[in-house]
């Protein structure tokens, strides 16, 4: 048996890294465009980063099963210092990220990573993502068996196959070694929980769960499979997903949407067909390489103070794990280097799904001095209570989809809670924060979770978070938290302090049974407490509440735009539209010109957020609305005069607006129609003739269709869609079409040629798909 985890980067990944290097050169030389290059870059785990003035990239390195060595950590840290922003970010998927690197340096980074057995391949894009594993697997006294060898073997099996890198969407797999499901198997696309039945090792299997949009807890797929069957199950799900995932809409592509579409029964039946096919065909599985780390036996274990929850006793008597919880998952270069140098050689490392790093195999005698050493580097790495270490997504600072600055809130919470007495700190569970309704901060599995949103008070935006309570993850018991109430961002740290105090005083409350407490009147008590924190004073009284944490300026959605986090923006638009409607109704009833004026301004303001404009100035609202919506033809020309009259009214040149009432209603209706047509990318999704309220938008449409990505679209729909893409083009204009190999590339070019179009070129990419260049007849 091996004495440490064994994982080898497959040859295919090495070859792909070499090819990637070539593509980077071509991209930098301007030989391939950014869109095409992206299809090499993202599946290689190299993401474009937002926010920086010049283009920077982030490299997401996978630590399969959370397994990582000291040497690897050292290399990562050095790379972050040499090429990146000087810190390493530990994610909630056990990856380690190097931020702010230059494109030209990425091949070098990838090669240096390969030398120590690491790769970001599959870190992003529509790929098999890092296979997650309970970070305490192998040392957890409660566990059925160590699932690490399985996570590693399955990773090897999946990433050696190139088909794992061109799926309809991401495919996330997780392993848990206990029924407590520390690895989050019940909220992933595919999850395995270790079981032993009649002396045989195996797994209970879950599928089609996930936390993003359309969040759903996974369903039970198999009560028990033998351990060597993980490959077959994962392969069957992969093929099933490949065939049934909706490639045409990436927001509805994940496996859970297949389940929603087919229904659970049909979903399981289909999976069983695929499994039967895989079993019959036979696949080349990997060896599950068991390992045993050699440890000295501790004969007389020392008494250890376990009050700080970063210490976990291990399975082997006298050994402990210690969890390092750097603020927001970030280790700074110098501190991390110092820390690694101080850590003895006998300990091993695991990344976690909580943005932390787990040190394992620490002997009882070492423990105290080691903790002292760590605190010597930075006391913050060892927050005594997990409550004081909120998990937060990166938020609106780097993610231009985000609404709120979640890491700043996390830091404030950390600051406030750390100042409390230990028993009060310990009263709270760990807090999960997402800056928007997406789930990057996993807030829906937190016993306490916060979801960023914005609300308008007195015409101004106030950053808020919805408080969610009662989320939990465990075998057969997983459920997502429920929204209770919206709290202003600025009030949350104080609310949590009050909550900690209330809980610490409540004799019926036990910190380990938070969810049980919720069920027994706890929910009502917390809600009553939370209500005390919802008050929003006027701007003059407390301007801070109108600003997000860490911000000097008032909260604004300006510059936030399309993206998954658009959901928060939608709330605001709806709010403005409702206000416009109310103003309009009252204006008609009371024959009040000023209310009609308000209706016009609110209707005009509603959709400006999508264009990145958020202002309180009526004049600006009206001018921008004319520029963005009337000039572009989205709103009829006849409204221009209405808006001009509204401006005149405001200036006092006109004192009667009521004559315009019918036109105001039309304007509101049009804005409502545009609003309800918004798709998840925050584009207006109306038939073309309805988009042309005034002026043609055809030119824009034609320009934006120079690439048609028809990968994953089967015959004959790919031909249908190719025709749709060609139709708006001028004769002689050309178009690039991405097509899968096999039937699609064999048929579509021929069919297009038969219609008289000219095939200019046909080129196969390294990913296997083809790029077809066509000139319209």
């Amino acid at each position: 048996m091996n004495n440490q985890p064994v994982f080898e980067i497959p040859e295919t990944v090495k070859e792909d890294t070499e090819k990637y290097e070539g593509e980077v050169e071509r991209f930098l030389a301007g030989e391939i465009d950014a869109v095409r290059f992206k299809s090499y870059r993202v599946p290689m785990g190299v993401y474009s980063q937002r926010g920086a003035a010049e283009k920077k990239y982030m490299v997401r390195v996978r630590a399969p099963g959370g397994v990582i060595t000291k040497e690897q950590l050292e290399v990562l840290n050095e790379l972050a210092a040499e090429y990146g922003s000087g810190y390493l970010h530990f994610t909630t998927r056990q990856d380690v990220q190097i931020h702010a690197v230059e494109m030209e340096d990425t091949p070098e980074i990838l090669n240096k990573l390969l030398e120590v057995g690491l790769s970001p391949r599959g870190g992003g894009g529509n790929t098999v993502r890092n296979v997650a594993n309970a970070s305490r697997a192998g040392v957890n006294p409660e566990e059925v068996f160590d699932t690490t060898p399985h996570a590693l073997a399955l990773t090897e099996y999946l990433i050696k196959s190139r088909s794992s890198f061109n799926l309809p969407r991401k495919y996330k797999i997780a392993f848990s070694s206990t029924a407590a499901d520390e690895g989050l198997a019940t909220v992933n696309d595919l999850g395995f929980i270790a079981k032993e039945v009649d002396g045989e090792r195996g797994f209970k299997v879950y599928a089609a769960g996930g936390m993003g949009n359309g969040a759903a807890v996974a369903i039970l797929l198999e009560e028990f499979i033998l351990e060597e069957e993980i490959f077959h199950v994962a392969e069957a799900i992969k093929r099933f997903f490949d065939d049934y995932g909706d490639r045409s809409n990436k927001h509805r592509a994940r496996l859970r949407f297949v389940r929603k579409r087919l229904g659970e029964e049909e979903f399981i039946a289909k999976y069983q067909q695929y499994l039967a096919e895989v079993l019959e065909e036979g696949i080349e599985t990997e060896e599950i390489k068991y390992f045993q780390i050699e440890r000295e036996e501790v004969v007389e274990p020392e008494e250890v103070n376990l009050s700080a929850d970063y210490i976990y006793p291990e399975k082997e008597i006298g050994y402990y794990s210690v969890e390092l919880r750097p603020e927001n998952g970030d280790f700074k270069y110098a501190e991390f280097k110092e820390l690694l140098a101080k850590l003895p050689d006998n300990i091993s490392y695991r990344t976690t799904n909580r943005q932390s790093l787990l040190l394992r195999g620490i002997k009882d005698q070492q423990l105290e001095s080691l903790i002292g050493e760590i605190k010597g580097v930075n006391g913050e790495f060892l927050a005594a209570n997990v409550a004081t270490t909120p998990i937060a997504c990166k938020g609106a600072s780097t993610c231009n989809l985000g609404l709120c600055l979640s890491p700043n809130l996390a830091s404030e919470i950390r600051k406030e809670l750390s100042a409390l007495a230990a028993e009060k700190e310990a009263a709270l569970p760990q807090i999960y924060i997402s800056g928007c309704p997406n789930c990057c901060g996993q807030h829906i599995i937190g016993k306490i979770g916060f979801e960023g949103r914005a609300k308008r008070v007195d015409g101004k935006l106030v950053p808020h978070y919805a408080l969610l309570l009662g989320g939990r993850v465990a075998e057969d018991k997983s459920r997502y938290g429920e929204k209770l109430i919206d709290l202003p961002a600025r009030r949350i740290p104080k609310f949590l302090v009050a909550l900690a105090e209330q809980l610490a005083e409540d004799e019926s409350y036990e910190p380990t049974k938070f969810n049980q407490y919720l069920e027994e009147q706890g929910l009502d008590r917390i809600e009553a407490l939370a209500k005390e924190f919802t008050d929003i004073p006027a701007y003059a009284e407390e301007p801070e509440i109108y600003r997000d944490w860490g911000q000097e300026e008032d909260f604004s959605l300006a510059g936030r735009g399309a993206g998954e986090c658009g959901a928060g923006v939608m709330d605001i638009i709806e709010l403005d539209l409702n206000t416009a409607r109310d103003n309009y109704q009252e204006a008609i009833e009371d024959e009040a010109d000023d209310l009609l004026y308000q209706a016009i301004v609110n209707a005009a303001r509603a959709l400006l957020i999508i264009k990145g404009i958020d202002t309180q100035k009526d004049r600006v609202i009206i001018e921008e609305f004319k520029a963005e919506f009337i000039d572009s033809g989205l709103v009829a020309e006849e409204n221009r005069e209405l808006l001009n009259s509204a401006l005149d009214y405001q200036l006092g040149d006109v004192d009667n607006l009521l004559t315009w009432q019918d036109q105001v209603e039309k304007l509101i209706e049009r804005v409502e129609k545009l609003f309800s047509s918004l798709n998840s990318k925050l584009e207006f999704d109306l038939p073309e003739e309805e988009l042309k309220a005034g002026k043609s938008v055809k030119d824009e449409v034609a320009e934006s269709t120079d690439v048609a990505d028809l990968r994953g679209v089967e015959c004959p729909m790919n031909f249908v869609k190719a025709k749709v893409a060609i139709a708006p083009l001028e004769s002689g204009a050309s178009l690039e079409i991405y097509l899968d190999e096999g039937e699609p590339i064999a048929n579509v070019p021929q069919s297009l040629a038969e219609e008289g179009h000219q095939i200019l070129s046909k080129e196969q990419t390294e990913e296997g798909y083809y790029i077809l260049k066509v000139e319209k007849a």
Binding site: E688, F719, K723, V724
Partner: protein, 267 residues
């Protein structure tokens, strides 16, 4: 052109055809066809036009569904007996294709209302069962410059022709001049009709409508197609424009629509 995913899939077999394509399908979705008579000819025609995605279909019929209709009027089902035909047909079309707007007229058309109704549509299908109606439709269509498909069926034979007044093609009256005297020709109630014959001829009318809307192929203008189901003969008889035609001739004497007399019968 902004098709939804569902539309792309629904009409994929059309869009693949070079003669239809994206533009053609868009045209169909923007077109309108009026079907006069929701019976033996009208229902199969309506069915295929709706499936094809003709954006608006008008249905004219004042009758209710009777049990004896079901042998050939395929959009009406047993539970529909007693319902208005236009309602029954509209109901089926709505569930078949939500892209289609169905407008119903529970009226008989006569000289006083027909022009106004047909004006709204791009193409007319004559699915009526009596000569007065056929002449009325022909005359109104010629006067309003509306293209239409004529058809008639009895026993085992059917006939159809297409008239495009704007292209000066022969009209129904060019060929048949005047309706036969009431009672001279047996109605299908008396003579009987093979159910499937209605389907074949109604489908031919729908084919003509679609070709006209797409502006593809050769229409059955200047030709009367005669179909004998027993011998399985399709025969095209060339017809010429009649210079003395009462409505489209050189010196037309009919300038007002005529309501001929004859009791209606069920096709």
């Amino acid at each position: 052109m902004d098709f939804t995913e569902e539309q792309l899939e629904r009409y994929s077999r059309h869009i693949i055809l070079q003669e239809v394509g994206v533009e053609g399908q868009q045209k169909l979705l923007e077109s309108s066809v009026l079907i006069i008579g929701a019976g033996g000819l009208g229902t199969p025609a309506a069915q295929f036009l709706a499936a094809a995605g003709v954006g608006k279909i008008g249905l004219v019929d004042a009758d209710q569904v009777e049990l004896s209709n079901l042998q050939r009027q395929v959009l009406h089902h047993t539970p529909d007996v007693g319902r208005l035909k236009v309602e029954s047909a509209k109901n089926k079309i709505n569930s078949m294709n939500p892209d289609v707007e169905v407008k119903t007229y529970r009226d008989y058309l006569y000289s006083g209302n027909i022009k106004e109704v047909i004006r709204e549509y791009d193409f007319i299908i004559d699915g009526t069962d009596n000569f007065p109606a056929k002449f009325l439709i022909n005359d109104a269509a010629v006067m309003e410059d509306k293209p239409f498909s004529h058809a008639g069926i009895i026993k085992f034979t059917g006939q159809t022709m297409t008239v495009v007044p704007s292209e000066d093609t022969p009209c129904y009256r060019c060929v048949f001049i005047d309706p036969p005297p009431p009672g001279a020709v047996p109605s299908c109630k008396e003579a009987g009709v093979l159910g499937v014959l209605a389907g074949v001829v109604g489908a031919l009318q729908a084919t003509e409508a679609i070709k006209y809307l797409l502006d593809k192929g050769d229409l059955l203008t200047g030709n009367l197609l005669n179909y004998d189901a027993l011998s399985m003969d399709f025969r095209k008889i060339e017809v010429k424009k009649n210079p003395d035609c009462g409505v489209c001739g050189e010196d037309p004497e009919i300038t007002e629509l005529i309501d001929y007399e004859q009791g209606a019968c069920e096709l």
